[in-house]
């Protein structure tokens, strides 16, 4: 693995990229040493993905003082040139082919081209096997990709990059949908690549992970370079501050709650998912539920909202509660904010107003039983004001909003049903660090108004700072209960990752 004489895999100086008069990148410098794990951090819209697209030749910058790859100056980058030089990107959606075999996915780029030729299946399989061996992974090469879990697809994407002799790999949010143990395995592979002399640029919003894996971190904000910092001695709080530009308050907000019990579960079990769960949530209480992905948190929520049938008993406002379906659960006063806002939480094709109105249609009817446009308008404007949602017109597509504002629309849609219990499943996924505080302020306000809230999150700090009581779930059981006022983030994380 030779890298250029200067030891840099990539050097960019003074990169400016303009979209419609707005500088998406404003004279940004960026450099990655050969074999280094480097992190690119910043809020959504800070220019991270634009920078990746410049490096891979998808975008041509308006001006650039210097672009050099592996010590060699290049005037312009095209996708073909970037790949030939050994630059590879693993996009968040992986850009793989679900119906094709693992071997074909790994070796796909050897097939690309307009000139017809036969497919050397045996050669492709051998090459795929070799790359996987280099990563220390064994996969069924003939299996269709769609039969693999997401973590293994990630490995396939990495193998595909390596087969192209990649010496600089960009990974865009690679751990977003991985469990902790899968993440650990992925980070292991990244270290192995780095030891092999492959430079890896890691883009992730999970600050703990960023600090764990990379040696240096480049922070961007609003298209400008904030700085390049060694991760040695860097804290999550400091990194968050650099990304958002202001100090993030992180005070424990827990207090004693003595409201009436809203929800109570005793001995709740779904075989294979979770067992023997006892859970009490009071009016005005925020109960945090944390644990690794796969611990059974979302499954528990699904049982509470009638998506799955559970054994055991549930009571709502003191009365027996047996939800027959999600619709039934909603009618009885539950609301569930899904972790998958993009495809389950919102209808991306529809307007802001329709997304807010979808859950409360019966309340918007006029005397003829038809939906009243005036009532719909009033509803959305009311919630825009109450939650401080920044929107253009209610008729605009929901996709025009930022992640944080989209999530507020989801909250509005459920709060409009006047629920007794609100379940928030990972409410800050894809929401900027800065906008998260706004969401949690709303959560606290709602609790103060007497709503019972179950807050599910895999980020220990989120539940610690925002819940009144934290439950730790692992392997389908609730292991321990913490009082945030009497515990520390270190103690909580130690319990989770033990």
């Amino acid at each position: 693995m030779t890298s250029g004489s200067d030891g840099f895999a990539l050097r960019l100086k003074g990169i400016t990229k303009i979209f419609g008069g707005v500088k998406a990148l404003d004279a940004v410098d960026f450099e990655v040493r050969a074999g280094e794990v480097h992190c690119l951090a910043g809020e959504n819209g800070c220019g991270k993905s634009t920078l990746i697209k410049v490096v891979t030749g998808v975008y041509t910058p308006e001006s650039a003082e210097e672009i050099s790859l592996f010590g060699e100056a290049v005037s312009t980058i095209t996708p073909v040139k970037a790949r030939a030089k050994g630059v590879s990107v693993i996009w968040q959606d992986l850009a793989l082919f679900p119906n094709m075999s693992v071997a074909e996915n790994i070796a796909f780029d050897t097939l690309v081209g307009a000139r017809p030729r036969g497919v050397p299946f045996a050669k492709m399989k051998a090459a795929a096997a070799e790359v996987l061996a280099r990563l220390g992974v064994t996969l069924d090469l003939d299996a269709p990709l769609e039969t693999l879990p997401i973590a293994q697809r990630q490995v396939v994407a990495i193998a595909r990059a390596l087969l192209n002799d990649a010496r600089l790999i960009f990974m865009d949010e690679p751990t977003a949908s991985l469990t902790q143990s899968e993440t650990d395995r992925l980070l292991e592979i990244v270290r192995k690549l780095s030891a092999d002399g492959v430079a890896v640029v890691f883009v992730s919003h999970r600050l703990a992970e960023v600090l764990d894996i990379s040696s240096r971190v480049t922070v961007l904000r609003d298209g400008k370079l904030v700085g390049v910092y060694p991760t040695e001695g860097m804290t999550q709080a400091r990194l968050g501050e650099l990304m958002t530009g202001h100090l993030l308050e992180s005070n424990v907000s827990a207090r004693d709650v003595s409201g009436p019990v809203v929800f109570e579960a005793k001995g709740l079990s779904v075989p294979g998912q979770f067992e023997n769960i006892d859970l009490t949530i009071r009016a005005g209480e925020v109960v945090g539920l944390t644990g690794l992905i796969g611990a059974g948190r979302t499954e528990l929520a699904h049982a509470m909202i009638g998506m799955t049938r559970a054994q055991g008993t549930m009571r709502l406002m003191g009365k027996p509660y047996i939800p027959g379906s999600l619709r039934d659960a909603i009618a009885q006063g539950l609301a569930y904010v899904s972790e998958d806002r993009l495809s389950l939480g919102l209808l991306q094709k529809q307007s802001i107003a329709d997304n807010a109105a979808i859950s409360v249609l019966p309340k918007l009817l006029d005397q003829f039983g038809l939906i009243s446009p005036a009532k719909k308008q009033a509803l959305i404007l009311d919630w825009v004001k109450r939650l401080g949602i920044k929107i253009g017109a209610p008729e605009n597509p929901i996709a025009t909003l930022s992640g944080g504002n989209q999530q507020k629309v989801v909250l509005a849609k459920w709060l409009a049903t006047e629920p007794k219990l609100l379940i928030l499943d990972s409410p800050t996924v894809g929401v900027d660090v800065g906008a998260r505080a706004g969401i949690f302020r709303i959560v606290r306000d709602l609790a103060d108004q007497g709503l019972a809230i179950l807050l599910i999150s895999d980020e220990a700090s989120e539940v610690l700072y925002n819940a009144d009581r934290v439950l730790h779930m692992a392997e389908g059981r609730i292991r321990e209960s913490f009082d945030p006022r009497q515990t520390t983030i270190q103690a909580l994380e130690a319990a989770i990752y033990a």
């Binding site: 495809s343 939480g345 209808l347 094709k349 979808i358 249609l361 939906i371 008729e395 849609k413």
Partner: protein, 330 residues
Amino acid sequence: MSAFITRLRNALGRETFGLLILLAVMVTAFSLASPKFLTAANFGSMGYQAPLLGLLTLAMLGPMISGGINLAIIFLANISGLTFAWVMLQFGGADAGLPAILLGALAAMAVGAAAGALEGAVIAFVGAHPILVSLAMMIFLRGLGEFLTKGGDISGFPDVVGALGHGAIFGFPLPLLLFLVVAFVWHVLFSRSRHGFATYMVGSNIRAAEYSGLPTKRTLITIYALSGLVCAIAGILMLARFNSVRVGHGEAMLLVTVLAIFLGGIDPFGGHGRVAPVILSILILQILSSGLNLIGANQHLATAVWGLFLIAVMILRSGRLAALIPFRKD
């Protein structure tokens, strides 16, 4: 004033204005080309011809907004017409009384709605692709109809029924009246009702609609049942206009309805689209066909022009006119 226009645009859909301009251009062009175009006789005959295609298009529209398609509409109409005919024949054919006619119409609508609901149920519960399900239903209904009629015609109905197809109230063609009533109900259904709202949501993302607490399965079944119901109305009208029922009547209209819907700017993947522009596009197709007929072309040329017209409109909407210029730098 501009606020009024905005409101109108929201109510009617933004495709409407472009189509209105097209309509005006065509009416002007045909008026200049043929002195017979701007006559009451011509508009009268259009008023009897367009409603059938219009009703079938409305029957196609609902499933398309829900993200599907109903390729069985023609044979749903045929089978319903057959039911109508069968009931009347049981009660004396040409001598059948008004109660028998009403009973027949109700039976026809029940059959259409039931067959539509079956399609919707297979789509909702099995999750099979609507193209495949409705195609299978189409093949089945066509076969059923041919089996029952042995490929022949059924005729001999009371005169009252013929009046539905040819009559007029105060000079206003009855079929057109029927169509406008259904179109109005459809407009209200899709712009203001809960069911219409749910149909749009199901069409744009069925799982998110489910997670938002909408009854997605019921919505799908209902929309296909309603589609079948409107097919039945079209089938009754078809019987009245041709004074006979034959399986395969109107077969050529199947893909024309889809063409009209695309012309009306409906999102082919579902979730978006309004009734008003679709009605306009039916009007445009009818004017094209009548106008060409007046200047001496036949229906086949009109069919070809419809196809070319759809391509032209889609090219204009694509905003990629630049692709027409060869050898441009990309």
